[in-house]
Amino acid sequence: MNNEYPSKSLGIFPRSWSEESAGRIPGNIPIWVGILSELTEFAIFFVAYFIAKYHYPEVFATGPQGLSTSLGVANTIILLSSSYFMAKAMMNIRLDDRIKCERYLWLAVSCGAFYLIIKTWEFYWNNLQGLSTSTNEFYTVYYYMTFNHFLHVGWASCAILWVIFRLRAGEYSAAEHSGLEALAVYWHMIDLMWILIFPLLYVLR
């Protein structure tokens, strides 16, 4: 199998899109294809939210009152902290400090695990309150959005564990850490989606 990169680009995109003129692409191109696909998926959820809210304003005004705001706030702080830890991990790998980098990655994956535990508890708590996907239109949107986001945090947390394994194997250094950077931008994308989801489902009435 030929693993060499092609020496020339395909030439199907304008020259202004190239890294030389538009600037460096963090991570790699495949992760950005993934990120933009995920953003499209979440965009459909957000559009669905606004359409449903337009048609059922009373349901969406009362819906957030049935949710545990404190659990939503806790998860927001946890995800923001995980993004901060990920950014610190990136800074440390650039300084070639693998020990500190690994420490911050463990903190980030711990945040991911805490998020998943809290979210699972929230779903259980909702169930005890008699809430489900069929309660009303608000909860249908709530479960679609939050369960989808839950899955993203789950597999991205597993990806952090994989990156820690690779870091320990000496695969990343100050000179070459594109794999780690690709995971970092993906993780930040997940945090960004929660930044949008949180006010829509927990704050705004």
Binding site: A43, T69, L80, Y84, A87, M91, V185, D191, L192, I195
Partner: protein, 84 residues
């Protein structure tokens, strides 16, 4: 070291905004003003993560533009709902 301190500041600001927005949502009826404040602060949070945590500020300008547009468009819809 300066760069390290900057990140800590952004982290603290993002958490403060989260708590402030929650306070607004819990203490006040969802008025137009509350919705607009929440939408603007969500835009700020998103742009801060894109520029400083995702580090797109000095990276590819097309990706930065796309990400920023996304985090401006959807909070703008929160403001739009005020008028419907």
């Amino acid at each position: 070291m300066k760069q390290f301190k900057k990140l800590e500041w952004f982290w603290a600001i993002l958490i403060f905004i989260t708590l402030f927005n929650t306070f607004l949502g819990e203490q006040f009826e969802s008025t137009a003003l509350v919705s607009i404040i929440v939408a603007l602060t969500v835009m700020y949070k998103g742009i801060t993560v894109i520029d400083h945590f995702m580090e797109l500020k000095h990276a590819n300008r097309n990706l930065r533009w796309l990400m920023r547009m996304y985090l401006i468009l959807f909070p703008s819809l929160i403001i739009a709902t005020v008028f419907f």
